[in-house]
Every structure is written in structure tokens, then in C-alpha cells.
Subunit: 242 residues, 2 copies
């Protein structure tokens, strides 16, 4: 059976961001990314520093490990990365999860298409703003968003953009103007991914969150949007695997 | 034209809790409640202390005021209380908002039915747990939830329960067992609704939030749930009208 590189399986924990914020979920984190965002908070998945953690697993292996770690305490699995959409054979895992009536969430930046994305219940497409150092391929992004339009009403998708600065904010407005009918989530960027002082980080990020809210509330071009922090960072700071 | 008692109109601001957490929205807060929860954070809507703020308004008056305050900076209106479901003639406001393509959110405790509830895009039913001092009429709640099943796929509803103690937690489990197919939001109760030290309150509530998460993550009977704080309280503390 074909295998995928997995770097972490953990949970159940609370999804701290985006369209299913607060959801009780298991996490499967795959290795590898086609991007190298300057502020990536999961760079161990692709920069070599987490190489020793990568295990090649079949879909059955992953399902067995999910049950071993999460027991009967989950009904939702989030597949995250890196960029899980690099992996065509994740389709086998998606099929197993669906067969077991597990809901599936995925986050990917919208740079690659896989047919198994059709089957994701809660799909976050998170194009990266200028501060990441990456350039969005809007033609690919549009192709992906177009494909996803045919899905059924129980499946949801959204765009999510992390905001670090004014340029990112303008980028988010551009994206909203291009795709006004797709639910848009704006997220406060965590600009200190190394501190271990969680209390201070929470206060800092809440202050930044308030500033972003203030700006969006005044802006006629960003009306049908949601503005959110990363809840896991407010609680657990930069700790990994919680 | 028939009038409704309105106690506050403000925004746009960010919806701090529940199924549309983070949403940019205007708020219309109606006066009057059939409950008197021990920890009500909007008791000025029903306990007489906000009596001088109540204005009897037609639906047209409310729409005019929403446009005056919010300009072109909103596409979503939240109707809150008190219990807005006490007011049959809110239907006229709902109709005006729909005609103007404004999405509508409502929160009500599920003690009263009104036909205009059929037309709410994002409807939160928040039965009150034991710590409130109130008793849930489950037969009425079931009737309401049954009626709402016929709505279309673009309309959403959820149950939301605020948790202050272990008894509330057990109540939430009971509600989830009664209505397993309705999305359930668990919310950390704010047990200090008078302090003006926002920073300390935020830290206190984040610690309580973490404890609630820990409990839910271990619990096989609460799998398909979302656990959330009140974001507005983390940012603005107990301030009103933000
Ligand atoms: S796309 Fe995501 S995982 Fe890849 S580098 Fe950027 S932030 Fe990191
Ligand atoms: S139902 Fe809501 S508004 Fe009414 S008393 Fe309880 S908390 Fe307050």
C-alpha cells in the first residue's frame, strides 16, 4: 500500500483557528511543503529540523494510530502540514475516515489540487500574504476554488488569511474582492513564535487582535468577514503537539 | 406600525461568541426577558436598571438607526436581548433586513417560538444550565428544534451552553444526548462580570477555558462539539456596547 510522510499524530485537542475554531479534533500532520513562509510556525515539517520525526505510514497505519492515541474520544480529524495537498495518496486516508463516519478538516494554501479535496467536510484554503515572502498563483487558486463549487451543502470551505502588516491587509482585501462569495477569515499573525512566556504572548496577541478588529470594523470593503485569533496560542503559547 | 422595545443599537463590532464567532456585525439588543439568570451579563435589559435606555421603535426606525450608526460598514445584524423571541413583531425587522440582503443572527434561550425564527440565517439556541437558577422546558425546546429542521441548507442553527460548574457540564452532556445532530457549542462562563481589570480577567478566563477543554477532550460523550471562550470579554472585559 502507498505511504505518506507523517510527522505528528496527536489529540484530541481543540482546533484553535479558522472555520471550525473550537472543534474537538485529532490532528494528523504531514511532512513537506512547497512553500517556505518566513513566519511558518510548522517549519519543522519541511526545513529538515523534524526529519527524525517523519514516519512513512499507510492510511491503515494512520487510522490505527489515531484510534490508539484518541480512543473513542473523537469524531473529527484535521489533516494539516506542511501542505497535505502535495500528497495524492492521502485519498486512501480520507476514504477510511469517511467509512468510519469521521468528519475531516484540511488546511492547505491553495497551490496544489488533489481530487480527495472534494471529500473534505471543512476545507480551509489559506493563500499566503506578502509578509510570508511567497507569491500567490491566483490562476491556480481560482481553478481550485472553481472546482470546489460543485460540492454538496454539508461540505464547507473558506479562505483564511493571516495578517502581519498593512500589506497583508491590502492583500486580504484583494482576495475578498476576487472571491466575494467565499467565507473569509482574517487571522492575527503570531509575530513571536519563539517566546516561552505564554501569558505575555497572549496579552500581546490580544492587543494586536484588537487593532485588527478596529481596522476591519471601519472598512467598508471588508464587511462579510470573520476576524479571529489563534486560540491555542492564547492558551498554550508556542508549545507543539497540544 | 407596531413597535419593539430596543435598549441598544451599536456596531459594527466583532461577534465574540458562538456559531459565528469573529463575524463583523451590528447589534440590536431588545429589552425584556422571561428568564432571570443568576449570572446574566445583560440584566440591564430586564431588571429595570436600563429602563431609561429603552426606546420603542418600528422596524423602519431600527433600520434607519442601523444605517446611521453603521453606514456601509456592515452586511450582518445580530438581534440579541434579553430574549428577542418574546417579540412577535420583530418579524417586520427581519423582513427589512432580508430585503436589504443583510444576514441575520439571533440568540435566544429556546423558551418561546416565533415564526420569524424560520428566517434567521444563524440561529443560536442557548438553553440555560442549572447554575443560572432557571429550569429548561425540554418539551418546548424540542418543539422549537423540531420546527427548525425544515429550513434550507444556507440557514444554520446551533445549541450553545455556558458552563460554570460540574452540574452545568452534566447538563450539557444531557442536552447533547437529547439532540446529538445539532451542532453544540460549549462556552466558558464569565464568573466575574463586575471587574474592570480586563487583563487579569482575560488571564483568569483563559485558565478556565483550558480546564474546560481538558475535561471535554477526555470525555467520550462529548466528541462532536466546539469549545469556545467569549472573545469580546478577553479583549474588552466587561465593557458594554463594544
Ligand atoms: S504554507 Fe504553511 S506549512 Fe508551508 S511554509 Fe507556509 S505556513 Fe509553513
Ligand atoms: S436568558 Fe439571557 S438575557 Fe435572559 S436572564 Fe438569562 S442570560 Fe440574561
Amino acid at each position: 500500500m502507498s505511504k505518506v510522510p507523517v510527522i505528528e499524530i496527536f489529540g484530541p485537542t481543540m482546533q484553535g483557528e479558522g472555520m471550525v475554531i473550537g472543534q474537538k479534533t485529532m490532528f494528523v500532520r504531514t511532512a513537506g511543503c512547497d512553500y517556505a513562509c518566513s513566519w511558518c510556525d510548522s517549519s519543522f515539517t519541511w526545513d529538515g529540523s523534524g526529519k527524525h520525526l517523519i514516519v512513512q505510514m499507510t492510511a491503515e497505519d494512520i487510522w490505527t494510530e489515531l484510534k490508539r492515541v484518541g480512543g473513542n474520544r473523537f469524531s473529527f480529524v484535521t489533516i494539516s502540514g506542511g501542505n497535505p495537498a502535495l500528497l495524492s495518496n492521502l485519498g486512501a486516508l480520507v476514504a477510511i475516515l469517511k467509512k468510519n463516519k469521521i468528519k475531516i478538516g484540511v488546511e492547505t494554501q491553495g497551490s496544489k489540487w488533489q481530487d480527495w479535496l472534494y471529500d473534505i467536510d471543512e476545507l480551509t484554503i489559506s493563500p499566503k500574504p506578502p509578509s510570508s515572502g511567497m507569491t500567490t498563483d491566483f490562476s491556480m487558486l481560482s481553478t481550485i476554488l472553481e472546482k470546489l463549487k460543485i460540492r454538496n451543502g454539508d461540505q464547507h470551505m473558506s479562505l483564511k488569511i493571516v495578517i502581519f502588516n498593512q500589506e497583508d491587509y491590502e492583500y486580504a482585501k484583494d482576495v475578498h474582492q476576487r472571491y466575494p462569495d467565499i467565507p473569509l477569515y482574517l487571522q492575527v499573525g503570531n509575530d513571536d513564535i519563539t517566546t516561552s512566556d505564554t501569558g505575555q504572548l497572549a496579552n500581546h496577541l490580544l492587543a494586536k487582535y484588537e487593532m485588527l478588529i478596529d481596522q476591519v470594523m471601519m472598512d467598508e470593503q471588508l464587511n462579510d468577514v470573520k476576524v479571529l485569533p489563534q486560540l491555542h496560542t492564547l492558551i498554550w503559547g508556542n508549545k507543539r503537539g497540544v
